[in-house]
């Protein structure tokens, strides 16, 4: 029955693609829509265009850098807040307040500060990703098993030993959850900034293809970006599954 559902799902996808092909060929305005067959050919051609691949690689690099910064900086901010009631009480409301800001509204400000190049995109990716890391790690640090803490205290552990041997290891699974959420945030932030800046990078090409009424190229570029997004999301999802497995069966 399970395999059956998978087969039907593939059938549904094939049907939708065929429908798209048929409708686009029959009724679609070629200035606005492209059938999947044309899109596929164009997508492969796009990959041969050095300017497009350069823009894609630049975006990928921005994503990687922003992700690393978001995770590292997020951890650095989250640890004191997670470990000390004082710092949590003092700074968590500030963090939550910033988190509540609809970040797209400050995108023009980022461009003003960081310019039109990669720094803006990286910075915007970081601010979109960092909160996931901060909030999951803080939550995890507060939820460390009290039995373990009690046991460590009664065995005479110092505060330092307690943090290194008990608290930090128990944060690992949540950190990977935070990393998965951070990745989707970073993707959103970098792509928003890429689309906003239309003089270079991805935003330049989406606008150029739109203005030229070249839907196949636009579809192709978006497909490539979607593929990158899916691959990165899947990568962090796999890492999360791999590193939180021990949490699910604590008996072993």
């Amino acid at each position: 029955m399970r395999g059956n559902a998978g087969a039907v799902r593939i059938g549904v996808i094939v049907l939708l693609v065929l429908l798209w092909e048929l409708l686009a060929r029959r009724f679609g305005n070629p200035l606005l829509v492209a059938p999947p067959s044309t899109t596929l050919v164009t997508t492969i051609a796009l990959l041969g265009d050095p300017q497009v691949t350069q823009a894609l690689l630049a975006a990928l690099r921005e994503l990687a850098i922003a992700f690393v910064i978001a995770v590292v900086a997020g951890l650095v901010i989250a640890l004191p807040l997670g470990l000390s009631t004082f710092w949590r009480g003092a700074l968590l409301p500030l963090v939550l307040g910033l988190y509540a800001v609809p970040q797209v509204t400050v995108l023009p400000l980022f461009v003003r500060i960081f310019g039109l190049g990669p720094p803006t995109k990286i910075a915007f990716g970081v601010t979109h990703g960092i909160f996931a890391v901060i909030l999951t790690v803080i939550a995890a640090a507060r939820a460390v098993d009290p039995h373990l803490l009690r046991a460590a205290t009664s065995l005479g552990a110092t505060r330092r030993q307690m943090i290194v041997a008990v608290v930090l290891p128990s944060l690992v699974p949540s950190l990977f959850t935070g990393m998965r959420l951070a990745m989707s945030g970073v993707l959103l932030g970098v792509l928003l900034a890429e689309l906003y800046v239309s003089t270079t990078g991805i935003g330049f090409f989406t606008q150029a293809f739109t203005n030229a009424f070249a839907p196949a190229k636009l579809f192709g570029l978006i497909l490539l970006l979607a593929a990158i997004a899916i691959a990165l999301n899947e990568l962090t999802r796999m890492a999360e599954r791999r590193f939180s497995r021990w949490r699910e069966n604590p008996a072993s």
């Binding site: 559902a5 799902r9 409301p93 797209v104 995108l107 023009p108 400000l109 003003r112 009424f213 978006i222």
Partner: protein
């Protein structure tokens, strides 16, 4: 102490601005922002912009809720359909919706329709996924019991399916509304000819940072109001159902 910390941040911001450490073109002083907020609120533009943004959101949400609830209900009632479509929709949800915006610009132009389309797409996924989840977990025992006591289809829906699915569906609707608002705002910021996002970009480009921040404050206030309103509605709805 929390208030003290926030107050400290404000004081640092104000002194930083007045001592010249902070570039007023990037981060204007809080006093300047407050003054600009007063001017902006008295002008008519902010209300027109807010009205347009909220109207776009309302239409986007109507499309998303209508289609999401209908499709979710249709899928959620059949366990087989859930297994076929749920992974498909969840997979599509993993693609950043913002990627569709260039397509919507091509299809619908730079006016409100492209923002409505983006907001509707963004809101659709949490609504449809939670509607599927809600109707998929309706108790089979309750259904069978009601049926054996002779309940007809509308009665089954009203007294068994709806109460069981409601808490999950309403959470999805709320999520959809909030994400839809962010998407509409995002679309307006990227490429548009009106709305709050558009005003923010216009102020940024015409080097009026205090006014830009004033508009940002309005956007934040609108987002918070929406959040409070919907969580209140969710809470009330839930209490009503369990009562």
């Amino acid at each position: 102490m929390q208030i003290g910390c926030v107050a400290l941040a404000f004081v640092a911001w104000q002194t930083g601005s007045s001592s010249g450490a902070l570039d007023p073109l990037i981060l204007p002083a809080p006093a300047a922002v407050a003054a600009a907020l007063g001017t902006v609120l008295r002008s008519g533009t902010v209300w027109a912009a807010l009205g347009l943004t909220l109207a776009e959101l309302a239409l986007a949400f109507a499309f998303a809720a209508g289609s999401g609830l209908l499709i979710g209900f249709a899928i959620g009632r059949s366990p087989f359909a859930v297994r076929v479509f749920d992974p498909l929709l969840a997979g599509l949800y993993a693609v950043p919706t913002i990627l569709l915006f260039p397509l919507y610009l091509l299809f619908f132009g730079i006016g409100p329709p492209s923002k409505i389309a983006l907001g509707a797409t963004m809101a659709f996924f949490p609504i449809v996924l939670s509607t599927i989840a809600g109707f998929a977990q309706v108790s089979r025992v309750h259904l069978a019991a009601a049926q054996s006591m002779g309940a007809n289809a509308p009665q089954l829906f009203r007294y068994v399916m709806f109460p069981d699915a409601f808490p999950i569906v309403i959470a999805g609707l709320r999520m959809g509304l909030v994400l839809g608002f962010l998407a509409v705002l995002g679309g307006e910021t990227l490429t548009s000819n009106g709305g709050l996002g558009h005003e923010i970009v216009t102020m940024a480009e015409s080097l009026e940072p205090a006014k830009m921040f004033a508009y940002i404050v309005v956007a934040i206030a609108a987002a918070s109001a929406l959040n409070l309103l919907t969580s209140y509605a969710e809470l009330r709805g839930r209490r009503h159902e369990t009562a």
